[in-house]
């Protein structure tokens, strides 16, 4: 994949996919709105005073869930569903005989969609601050930069995990079912519903050995200014990418041989 890397190709892909995404701006606005789970969770937490049990103030908790919303907006991945559809319907065939790994297309689609989502996410944040003025804060540039990197790394981890699952299409055809299994730990262990700090001690003892806390919890804590070990967190995210990338390459290379070009 890296050997095929060509910045010009990727830039053109991004431009084209961005143009394509702008055709769907209403849908993207709706998707952005549909990602407000963290705000519901914030409501549950504050109405039940649950934050007292983990020594986080209301303000910090509000900021955490707003940041979780932001991280989720820019790290959400659906490559398994696109790939599965393309694979089963034969749309993958023309991409496979082009000198560019088809996953670059999906990657560009995701990045283009994230860029399109940005204004909608900012509008939602604006309204969040109107209803929660005490939560207003401006993270310093260094933190903003590091949390942007961390969010992008979180996106890469999720993209690689889903790409690996997507490649199982070559064997099982319905790889999205496997992804649904992964969705459960992602939902509960990533920090989307609750900060990982609030988890029971025995869960915390092993959850950091999985990639899940580095998907939402770590970048959201980083952005919201909660105490976190920045460089260790980013290093672990990079380690996960370094581990997942060769797995993806291996499974992609084996899967290609199984492709039957169904539906075409």
């Amino acid at each position: 994949m890296i050997s095929n890397f060509n910045s010009h190709k990727i830039f053109t892909l991004l431009k084209v996919q961005y143009a394509n995404m702008l055709e769907y701006r209403v849908e993207i606005a709706l998707w952005a709105i549909s990602g407000i789970i963290p705000f519901f969770m914030l409501n549950i937490w504050t109405n039940n005073n649950l934050n007292e049990s983990i020594n986080i103030s209301d303000v910090m908790l509000s900021r955490y869930f707003l940041c979780a919303f932001f991280v989720r907006q820019f790290s959400v991945v659906w490559v398994v569903f696109s790939f599965e559809e393309d694979s089963l319907m034969g749309k993958l065939s023309p991409y496979l005989i082009q000198p560019l790994n088809p996953f670059f297309r999906y990657f560009a689609q995701h990045v283009a969609e994230q860029i399109t989502r940005l204004p909608f996410a900012l509008i939602i944040a604006f309204f969040f601050f109107i209803f929660n003025p005490e939560s207003i804060w401006i993270p310093n540039l260094g933190i903003l930069f590091l949390s942007t990197i961390s969010t992008f790394l979180s996106f890469l981890i999720q993209f690689l995990i889903q790409s690996i699952v997507a490649c199982l299409c070559f064997w099982t055809e319905k790889a999205s079912s496997i992804e649904r299994l992964l969705f459960i730990p992602t939902l509960f262990l990533s920090g989307l519903l609750a900060p990982v700090a609030s988890f029971p001690k025995y869960v915390k003892s092993w959850v950091y050995f999985t990639p899940f806390p580095y998907l939402i919890d770590f970048p959201a804590n980083l952005l919201s200014g909660n105490a976190t070990n920045v460089f260790v967190g980013i290093a672990i995210q990079i380690l996960w990418i370094v581990f997942l990338f060769p797995v993806f390459r291996k499974i992609w290379s084996a899967g290609k041989k199984k492709y039957t070009a169904m539906g075409s």
Binding site: T12, V16, A19, E23, Y24, S93, P94, Q98, T260, S264
Partner: protein, 331 residues
């Protein structure tokens, strides 16, 4: 001497397919114990294709034509045998090989649905690493050849099927491939659009000496483009050779419709030893072998008072139809 661009030897392809008995019992059985079997869809085929040739693959639905094309372009791996396309093993999908070929499937599209075709063309130009100015030149040239200059900036979803197919062709040819794999490229197009596409392919072949492998269920595509055909029957090659020879072999007779001035002449013709197919009051249709057409016509014109005369070829679809259901043709 023209060199071979495609070499196929003892090529086979098997797929694993699962089967399910009908009804609830079958469904439950299928859920717990899935029965799969290996199905050999391509059986030890061998052929060669020379540079610049246009070869038509003929066969009934499910005969294996598309599977052969998919293996030739490297989309699927062969189970046995060897394939060399332009000196490459297609299934390795090396960059220099991929830059040399294209695959167009009539029922599938690569254009981005919501954007004008020009965006897809520019994207493909970038994927194939074509310089911006060169890409512009090629798009201009191909869009003129295909007569779609006006449609370049209209979203694909708003284009007619014919315009979309032409745009697909342009997207697939922007890198000027030497080998074209076309799987039913005229599917669903109206007669004029089919004719234009054929004209374009002929011109492209003449100008670039590109090799074209084509499957189509429209016989006009085959007869107007391909001098050579490979007939595929149940995954095996039943005929590989010139289309003319095959047609002569399959249709050794022509039909002559003679319009006579009187019923008397019709009766006289009927009793003259010709092989009569049918007759009416003033008309009679006779079957004459290809090699005795001239002598038969001479006899008719010299001995009978006829008003008009038509020589009919048997419908090509009818002849090709025979190929699709028959196993072997020894020419």
């Amino acid at each position: 001497m023209i060199k071979n661009i495609i070499d196929v030897e003892n090529l086979s392809k098997s797929f694993y397919i699962s089967s399910k008995e009908p009804g609830l019992k079958g469904t439950i059985k299928h859920f717990f114990r899935r029965q799969t079997k290996s199905l050999k869809v391509i059986k030890n085929i061998s052929f060669e294709i020379k540079e610049g040739e246009i070869v038509g693959f003929l066969g009934a639905n499910g005969a294996g034509k598309t599977t052969i094309l998919k293996m030739l372009c490297g989309l699927i791996y062969p189970s046995e045998g060897s394939i060399l396309v332009s000196g490459n093993l297609p299934y390795r999908r090396k960059e220099n090989f991929l830059k040399n070929i294209t695959l167009i499937m009539g029922q599938k599209q690569q254009l981005i649905w919501d954007l004008p075709p020009i965006e897809s063309f520019n994207l493909n130009a970038s994927i194939y690493e074509i310089d911006k100015f060169e890409a512009k030149r090629r798009i201009k040239k191909l869009s003129e050849m295909l007569e779609i200059d006006d449609e370049l900036f209209i979203p694909v979803r708003k284009l007619s099927l014919g315009q979309r197919m032409k745009s697909e062709l342009l997207a697939a040819l922007i890198h000027e491939p030497n080998i074209l794999f076309l799987d039913e490229p005229t599917l669903g197009l109206d007669i004029n659009a089919q004719r234009n596409l054929r004209k374009f392919l002929q011109k492209y072949n003449q100008e670039t000496n590109a090799t074209i492998c084509l499957t189509s269920h429209y016989m006009q595509d085959i007869t107007s483009l391909c001098k050579r055909v490979i007939c595929v029957h149940n995954g095996a090659i039943s005929y590989d050779g010139k289309l003319d020879l095959l047609l002569k072999k399959l249709s050794p007779v022509k039909e002559i419709l003679i319009v006579c001035r009187s019923e008397e002449d019709v009766i006289k013709l009927e009793n003259s030893g010709f092989n009569v197919k049918n007759k009416t009051k003033n008309e009679i249709t006779i079957k004459v072998e290809n090699n005795s057409i001239t002598s038969s016509l001479k006899t008719i014109l010299n001995n009978f008072d006829i008003e008009d005369l038509y020589i009919n070829e048997p419908p090509i679809d009818e002849i090709i139809g025979k190929i699709l259901i028959k196993k072997d043709y020894d020419i």
